[in-house]
Amino acid sequence: MVPVLLIIAAFVVYPFLSSVYYSFTDWNGISKPNFVGLLNYKNLLKDISFVHSLRNILFFTVGAIVLINPLSLILALILNSKIKGRSALRTLFYLPSVISMIVISNIWVIILAGDGLLNKVVDLLGVGGQEINWLGDYDKTPWALLFIILWQGVGNSAIFYIAGLQSIPQDLYEAADIDGAVGWTRFTRITFPLLMPAVTIVTFFQISGTLKLFDLPLIMTKGGPGDVTLTPTMLIYNQAFQYNAAGYATTTGVFLLLIIFVISALQLRLTRSKEVEM
C-alpha cells in the first residue's frame, strides 16, 4: 500500500496541486513565478488557438462516441454469434489496438498523402477526377483522422461489448422465447438494457481517451491544415516547450482536465441511470 500511496502522492497529487498553483502564475519555466491571479484563464478563453482546439476535440470525441458505439456493438453481436472462425476474426479486428500510434500514423500518411496510395488507386480505377488532399484539406482532414480513430478503436470497444453480452444470463433469453419475443424486441427489451454497464465503460474510455488525443495529429498533420486538427494536448506541448510559457501551459492543462472531469461525470450519471439491475 505504502509504495503506491507514495508514487501517487509524489507523481499524481503533488504535481497536480503544483500545476494548479503554476496555472495562476506567469512562470516561464526558469525564473521565479509571479502570482497573476486569473489572468491566464482569462487569456485562455480569448485564445483563438485554444478555442479552436476545443472545437476540434469535441468533433473527434462526439464522432467517436456516436460512431464507435453502434459499430462496435454490431461487431460484438456478430463476433459473439456462432460464426465460424470467430477467434481469428476477433484477432484481426483487435489488431489496430495493439499497434503504436506512431506506426499507425506513418502507415496512414503513406495511404492518405496527396500523392499517396489511395489517390493512386482511385486514379487507376478511373473513378477519380481530381486528387483529394486528405491531409491538407480544411473540410476533409478532420474526417480522415476521425476515420482512423474509428478504425483503431472499434475492435477494442467490441471486446468490452462481447464481455457484456456474455454476462447476460441465458435463461432470460429462454424466458423471452416462451413469451415469443424475437429479433428486435429481444434486443431492445433484454440485450440492450443489460448491456448498459458496457456502454458506460466503453463511452468513459472513449471520452477520456479522445479528449487527450496527441500522437496521431502530431505526426500526421502537425495540427493542420491551419489549426483544424490541433488538439489541446498538442497546444500544451507547444506552449511549454516552444514558447516557454510554462505557467500558461499548466493553465491549459488544468482547464482541459476540468473539461474531461465534467464531461466524464455527466456521462457516468447519464449512462449509469439507464443501467438496470440483473
Binding site: 508514487i7 519555466g29 472462425g85 499497434i99 503504436s100 506512431i102 487507376l124
Partner: protein, 280 residues
C-alpha cells in the same frame, strides 16, 4: 435449413472480407518496406521480397540497437515494479473495511483520467531539479504514476475472489502479514498478475509521448522515439523530405516483437481486459 446454412456461409465470408479490409493498412506497411523509394506510392509496383536494403538502413542507424535494448529494459523494470507495488496495494485496498477504500477509488479514477500533459511542466521541473531528466529511471517513475492506479484496481478486483479464511488460517499457524502475502496471497493472485502483464506491456512498448518529453535530449533513445527521429536520419541520407521505404521498415521491425507477444497472449489479453472491466 439449407437457406439458413447458405446465409451463414455468406455472412462468415462477408465478415472475413471486412476483416481483411481492416488489415489492409498493415499489409501496405509490409509491402512498402520491400519497395524502393521511387515506387513507394505506386500501389501496383511489385515489392521485391529479397531486397532488404530498407532493413539494412534500419540496423545501420547507430541508435537503433540501443533503442531496442532500452525499450525492453523499460518494459521489464516497469512491469516488475508495477506488479510488486500494485498487488500489495490492491490487496490492502480491497480488504480494508474502512472508508479509505472509497476515497482511494476516487483517487485511482482521478489518476486514470488526468492527461499526461496537465502535469507535464511540473514533471519536467521535478526531473530537472532531481537531476533525473533524460534518464530511464525517471521515465519508469512517470509510467508507474500513470498506471499503478489502474493495475491496483485490477488487483483489488481479483482479491475479492480469495476467501478470507485462508488468511485467518495462516494467522493461526503463526504467519506474519508479509509472509501471508508472499507465500499465500500473491500466488493466488496469479490471474491478476497475468492480466497486468499482458495488458500493460503494450502501453510501455508503444508509448511515444513519455520519451518525446522526458528523454528529449536524445541520448537515451527508445524504439518509438527512434521511429520519430529516423525520418530525419534517413532524410539526410537521401536528401528527400521523408524516405517512406526505410521508415516503413523500421515500423515493421519495431512492431514485430509486440505483435508476436499479442498473438501468443491474445487469449489472456482479451479475457483479461473484459474481466478487468467487469470487476473494476
Amino acid at each position: 435449413m439449407k437457406v439458413q446454412a447458405g446465409s451463414r456461409i455468406l455472412g462468415t465470408g462477408l465478415m472475413f472480407f471486412v476483416a481483411l479490409l481492416f488489415t489492409v493498412p498493415f499489409i501496405v506497411l509490409i509491402l512498402s518496406s520491400f519497395k524502393d523509394e521511387d515506387h513507394i506510392f505506386d500501389p501496383f509496383y511489385p515489392p521485391d521480397f529479397t531486397n532488404f536494403e530498407n532493413y539494412k538502413m534500419v540496423f545501420a542507424s547507430p541508435t537503433f540497437v540501443p533503442a531496442f535494448l532500452n525499450t525492453i529494459m523499460i518494459c521489464a523494470i516497469t512491469l516488475i515494479i508495477a506488479i510488486i507495488v500494485s498487488s500489495m496495494a490492491g490487496y490492502v485496498v480491497s480488504r480494508s473495511k474502512e472508508r479509505i477504500f472509497k476515497w482511494m477509488y476516487i483517487v485511482f479514477v482521478f489518476a486514470l483520467i488526468i492527461p499526461a500533459q496537465t502535469n507535464m511542466v511540473v514533471f519536467y521541473k521535478m526531473g530537472t531539479s532531481l537531476g533525473m531528466m533524460n534518464t530511464i529511471p525517471f521515465l519508469i517513475l512517470i509510467y508507474l504514476s500513470g498506471n499503478v492506479a489502474y493495475t491496483s484496481m485490477i488487483y483489488a478486483g481479483f482479491t475479492k475472489s480469495i476467501p478470507r479464511q485462508l488468511e485467518e488460517a495462516a494467522a493461526i499457524d503463526g504467519c506474519g502479514k508479509i509472509r501471508t502475502f508472499v507465500s499465500i496471497i500473491f500466488p493466488l493472485l496469479m490471474p491478476a498478475t497475468a492480466t497486468v502483464f499482458v495488458v500493460e506491456i503494450f502501453w510501455y512498448w508503444n508509448d511515444f509521448q513519455g520519451p518525446l518529453i522526458y528523454l528529449s535530449n536524445g541520448d537515451v533513445p527508445t524504439l518509438m522515439l527512434e521511429i520519430y527521429n529516423f525520418k530525419s536520419y534517413v532524410g539526410t541520407l537521401s536528401y528527400s523530405v521523408t524516405s517512406w521505404a526505410p521508415v516503413s521498415a523500421i515500423c515493421v521491425v519495431a512492431t514485430i516483437p509486440i505483435l508476436l507477444f499479442f498473438l501468443f497472449t491474445q487469449k489472456y489479453l482479451l479475457k483479461g481486459l473484459a474481466m478487468g472491466a467487469i470487476k473494476g
